[in-house]
């Protein structure tokens, strides 16, 4: 069974169709790249799949649950890292982990071992008790990702996780993504960086709310006869009628 199955999903805001009749499947353990220009509808589509926004019509299952009727069940099986930094700046690293772990129903023992593991893994053991406010951006993003994974979800949604981050941290970040995928987590990621698209198992490209291309990076490069993903993207992006918002 697929981790995510989407059929004709549409979202309208008044007369504006943000997401226009999209269909795709995401396999288990896959790293699925979700590309598109600003305003193409990526974030809206992702917010629908996370149960943050009601679809106007269409069908979808996430982690085997129906998106319309079982959104709260879906939430137990997914992790989400939003574009906006969403840890509490006035809490310490440890407190943030404890908070989100607790909300997902982890026991004190689980939280403790999770915290130790995560801090060590991120190399943040020393800073466990510093306020998140004082962390540099790169660390914050890695911490956000770890926190989104705290309950070992089946699927994790990442909305432009590496925006504004330096190249070294980006590489480290992708190492973390690979590790998660190896461990069996399905990764659904949106990004602006075309080199990152190359790291994905499969990639979809949205233009004006539609999915105009879908396949492995190699397939897409062949299909659009481009040497790299950036070339593919540029060719598709020229079709766009919507401007940036």
């Amino acid at each position: 069974m697929n981790a995510i199955a989407v059929q004709n999903l549409t979202k309208q805001f008044g007369s504006f169709t943000a997401v226009d009749n999209i269909s795709f499947d995401v396999k288990r353990g896959e790293i699925f790249g979700f590309l598109g220009a600003n305003g193409a509808g990526k974030t809206t589509a992702m917010r629908m799949l996370c149960g943050l926004s009601f679809p106007t019509r269409g069908e979808a299952t996430v982690a085997g649950f129906d998106l319309f009727r079982e959104a709260e069940k879906i939430k137990k099986s997914i992790g989400y890292m939003s574009q906006k930094f969403s840890l509490y700046e006035d809490l310490t690293i440890k407190e943030n982990i404890r908070f989100y772990g607790g909300i997902y129903g982890l026991t004190d023992g689980q939280i403790k071992s999770k915290t130790d593991f995560m801090l060590q893994h991120l190399g943040l053991s020393e800073q466990a008790n510093t306020l998140v406010k004082s962390l540099p951006l790169g660390w914050r993003q890695k911490l956000s990702f770890s926190v989104a994974m705290v309950h070992e979800p089946q699927i994790v949604f990442l909305d432009e996780p590496t925006g504004g981050v330096d190249p070294v941290t980006r590489r480290e970040f992708w190492t973390m993504i690979y590790e998660a995928a190896h461990a069996g987590t399905t990764v659904f990621v949106t990004t602006h960086y075309m080199d990152e698209a190359e790291y994905c198992d499969r990639v979809s490209i949205m233009v004006d709310g539609r999915i105009d291309a879908l396949g492995t990076p190699t397939e897409l490069k062949e299909q659009f006869s481009a040497s790299d993903m950036a070339g593919v993207f540029l060719k598709l992006a020229r079709r766009a009628k919507r401007g940036d918002d």
């Binding site: 943050l52 939430k75 137990k76 969403s86 909300i103 129903g105």
Partner: protein, 372 residues
């Protein structure tokens, strides 16, 4: 249960790490309870009087002496120019002008009748009313003295006299502060509760952390309870500080059981916090939430019977006080503190406010959307 515990842990940590909130908790009670009762003194005293005496007779001087002998009036000037007196009134230096016409004494004795003129600055109606009533009483007394001086006493004793003696219950010394302080305590608890809770969820919206919460399987009621309980505790802490200040500074100790106050306050805070949370679920920015709760609080407080009695409000305003939680708490506070009312005496208040709490919190849970 465990989720709730985790939520509460987080909220309390944030509250105690926020200097602005801590400042409110400790400064609000201090400022409001120390300054407001001193400032909010409605008691009418120190009526500033200007006497224009065209007569300058023994009687007129006697009358003026009699008036100034009371602590009620403060003689601004004793003059013979009416215009000068009016200037005093224009500059707010005098509230009341008493004019004694020329030949006042002669008329009174020769013609059995004389007239005094009073002009009063009626912009402040209460002061004008009470001041002039009091001045008339003094003139009446003076009149009686004059009469007894000229007539034989027995003729008057034969008239039946009804003596009216007022007895002031609950506040025998007519202390205005005992009246104001419990009311101000209510305002304090209300403002802190409503503002803090209203701003809280909106802040999470503005910062964006609410998204992260919304993708978790947390239940709506858990989230709302997690927001409600910390401010409920804060409200009771503020109430405690307020009660302590009113005891230490003003010597006001509740006549009734202090637990009656806490019990009611507990229920009341649920209602107020529910309102605050409702505001924050419908507002997008802190500015909006602030303005909206300010607007409502202003109406609730003004129509809550703190400054003016609800009995004298027009029907529509009285009807409104039926759905105004602030009015119930002010009433209960005064009843328990000054009259020693028991839980049984305030049962209707309690039930009504409990009803508000249920309705408002259900609305807050209902209007909080995890999904847009």
């Amino acid at each position: 249960m465990r989720v709730l515990k985790i939520l509460l842990e987080k909220e309390f940590r944030q509250v105690f790490r926020n200097p602005a909130i801590l400042r409110i908790i400790f400064m609000m009670p201090a400022i409001q309870l120390l300054i407001m009762p001193l400032a909010a003194d409605y008691e009418v005293k120190n009526v500033k009087l200007c006497v224009v005496d065209f007569d300058r007779s023994a009687y007129s001087r006697e009358l003026v002496n009699k008036i100034t002998a009371t602590s009620y009036f403060q003689l601004v000037d004793y003059t013979d120019s009416y215009n000068k007196a009016l200037t005093y009134v224009e500059n707010d230096q005098a509230d009341l002008v008493l004019q004694i016409p020329a030949k006042f004494e002669r008329q009174l004795i020769k013609e059995d009748k004389a007239t005094l003129f009073m002009a009063l600055n009626a912009i402040n109606g209460v002061k004008a009313n009470l001041g002039s009533a009091y001045l008339r009483t003094i003139i009446g007394d003076f009149n009686r003295e004059v009469r007894t001086e000229w007539l034989q006493l027995p003729r008057f004793n034969s008239q039946p006299v009804i003596e009216v003696t007022p007895i002031n219950w609950f506040n025998p010394y007519m202390n205005y502060r005992i009246f104001m302080v419990p009311g101000i305590l209510v305002i304090l608890v209300t403002m802190v509760g409503a503002f803090l809770s209203a701003l809280n969820i909106v802040k999470e919206k503005e910062v964006g952390t609410i998204e992260q919460i919304n993708v978790t399987p947390i239940k709506k009621y858990q989230f709302i309870l997690g927001k409600l309980i910390p401010f409920w505790v804060l409200g009771l802490i503020i109430l405690t500080i307020g009660l302590a200040i009113s005891y230490l500074v003003y010597g006001i100790a509740p006549l009734g059981n202090i637990f009656t106050i806490y019990f009611f306050a507990g229920v009341y805070l649920l209602a107020v916090l529910g309102l605050g949370l409702l505001v924050s679920t419908v507002s997008a920015t802190q500015q909006q939430a602030m303005l909206l709760s300010f607007f409502m609080m202003m109406i609730f407080i003004l129509l809550g019977g703190l400054y003016t009695s609800i009995d004298s409000m027009p029907a529509w305003a009285q009807a409104f006080t039926k759905v105004n939680p602030v009015a119930y708490f002010i009433d209960v506070m005064r009843m328990v503190v000054l009259k020693g009312s028991t839980l049984w005496d305030i049962r209707f208040h309690l039930l009504t406010v409990f009803g508000f709490a249920i309705v408002l919190n259900s609305l807050a849970v209902w209007s909080y959307r995890k999904r847009s």
